[in-house]
């Protein structure tokens, strides 16, 4: 009984936190008489959203498409790169400094370069989302592969296992928990990448919408854009967290599965 109550509280708690946050915000704006162009109240933001829901949804869809395309490319490339780095010590040693260097570059700095190559619009947004999202995936796959127990490798090699056998029977399944954990991080980074590119070089997307709203001093609309991005981020994160739990219950030794089934 108490554990069921606790579980209910766990489900309800995020909503309670969000509600308290919004109510405090609203109360503060009203009580302190903050001007809408400094900080609009949640109700004003919601009104702006309802008023402009047509264009907002259209731009949101555009951002979502760019994000998902960049993310999909990031997964493909990240997994391939991770497998290559994780299976060869030489490649690992050779590529690691380059990758670390690449990852240290703030991607905003690359967007103008991408505009030069890809022009203004969706390709640049997709490319930026891709560039931000592949790295965590590659690193996590490589880590999963590199941490296979040497004894297990010996057992399989003395059975006549090929490199491909080791990869598909042991390496990749072992890397799955790392992989799914990295997807959650990467999808969020892909959103950031897409929106950054849209604010710099695009005529569509939530990033562009917010830039427009800002230049016209339509602050509530800007905030509506921020909220839409946040909500899309949370929803995609939750989807990948759910997939992760489904696919790699063994990595947590069944703890999550018990929670899900036992309640």
């Amino acid at each position: 009984m108490t554990s069921r109550n606790r579980r209910r509280l766990e489900v309800a708690f995020p909503w309670i936190v969000i509600t308290v946050l919004l109510v405090t915000w609203q109360a503060a704006v009203v009580a302190l008489d903050i001007k809408p162009f400094v900080l609009p109240s949640p109700t004003a933001i919601f009104a702006a959203f309802v008023e402009n829901r047509g264009p907002i949804m259209q731009h949101a869809l555009f951002t979502l498409t760019s994000t998902m395309s960049g993310f999909a490319l990031g997964v493909l490339f990240g997994v391939t790169l991770g497998v290559v780095i994780g299976s060869s010590r030489l490649v690992y040693v050779g590529l690691y400094p380059v990758l670390i260097g690449f990852n240290s570059i703030p991607k905003v700095a690359i967007v103008p370069l991408l505009v030069l190559w890809l022009g203004i619009g969706q390709p640049t947004a997709i490319a930026t989302a891709f560039l931000l999202s592949f790295f965590p995936i590659a690193v996590n796959i490589a880590t999963g592969l590199a941490t296979v127990e040497p004894e297990l490798e010996d057992v399989l090699l003395s059975l006549g296992a090929t490199k491909a056998d080791l990869l598909f029977k042991v390496g990749l399944p072992r890397a799955m928990p790392y992989f799914f954990a990295s997807l959650k991080v990467s999808i969020t980074l892909a959103f950031i990448g897409a929106v950054i590119a849209e604010t710099i070089a695009s005529n569509d997307g939530i990033g562009y919408l917010m830039l427009q709203a800002s230049s016209q001093f339509r602050i509530p609309l800007m905030f509506a854009g921020v909220f839409v991005i946040a909500i899309m981020g949370i929803v995609t994160y939750l989807i990948f967290a759910l997939i992760e739990r489904r696919m790699t219950g063994w990595a947590t030794r069944g703890r999550d599965m018990q929670v899900a089934s036992g309640g």
Binding site: E151, D154, S158, L159, G160, W250
Partner: protein, 273 residues
């Protein structure tokens, strides 16, 4: 009986730049179907010996041959089990057991079409070690002893000609260990695969083996060979047999002596430096 595993004056150097050898001048020969045990002080190169025989490592000098062929790459017929059970946590027990069948020919090619036959074989093995009820469990739901039984089954599922065991029962309690000696002995007596067992437990060696090789401290080589001619099947009662105790006692003294010599040699080199 023809000899199945043979090492001629084998030495092994892990680090070419260093002159320190892990094994030096090791010679041993094991007949087909024989159960051999290797004992010796820690760090004397027993695990290295296993790697040489299975072809996972190349010898620096000397020749290793198995079944009449010189070993110069990983063998493809070996069953191996280590102290650490290394079962795959994402596979259920039965599917863990079947892993070698997905790799070794000819089973690999036949597995899809003859799945039922192989599943039956895996179940039979699980029955012999008393795990038949657990085939649908994940390894992490089993105790250490149960995992080690499963590990033993996995090393035997493809009916290897050569079984290599490196301290497989090292992490188990005394009762489970003695029980598994019996299990291993009875499987071996029906299948008669050639076996090399590395162990620190001299009673384990004397219980299971036909012949015991004693190795010197690093660099390791074989300093004594003891045939164990006690009748089979041996039981825990056998371990109280005066002849059994005699063998264990003799080997114990030999190892104590090489350990002391090893320490003295190390002290001399320290002084020289």
């Amino acid at each position: 009986m023809p000899e199945f595993v043979s090492l001629q004056d084998v030495s092994l150097n892990y680090d070419v730049s260093e002159s320190s050898l892990a094994l030096s001048g090791t010679t041993m020969s094991i007949k087909r179907g024989q159960f051999a045990a290797v004992v010796g002080p820690s760090g004397c190169g027993k695990s290295s010996l296993m790697k040489l025989v299975t072809g996972l490592k190349r010898s620096t000098s000397g020749t290793v041959s198995v079944a009449g062929n010189k070993v110069n790459g990983p063998l493809k017929i070996v069953g191996m089990a280590f102290q650490n059970p290394t079962l795959l946590p994402w596979r259920r027990l039965l599917s863990n057991l079947m892993l070698p069948l997905e790799i070794v020919q000819p089973h690999r090619g036949r597995l899809r079409a003859h799945r039922d036959e192989y599943v039956e074989r895996a179940r039979d093995l699980l029955r012999t070690v008393g795990l038949e009820e657990f085939e649908d469990r994940y390894p992490w739901m089993l105790s250490g002893g149960m995992q080690q039984r499963a590990n033993l089954c996995r090393s035997l599922i493809h009916e290897p000609e050569l079984l290599m065991l490196d301290e497989p029962f090292g992490a188990l309690d005394a009762f489970t260990r003695e029980e598994l000696w019996g299990v291993l002995q009875s499987i071996w007596m029906t299948k008669k695969f050639t076996t090399i067992l590395v162990t620190h437990d001299l009673r384990e060696a004397a219980y299971l083996a036909d012949v015991i090789f004693v190795m010197s401290a690093r660099p390791g080589r074989v300093i004594a060979t003891h045939p164990v001619d006690l009748p089979r099947p041996r039981t825990i009662e056998t371990t109280f047999d005066p002849h059994f105790i005699d063998i264990v006692h003799k080997i114990r003294n030999e190892i104590a002596q090489v350990r002391n010599e090893g320490k003295a040699a190390a002290a001399r080199t320290l002084k020289a430096v």
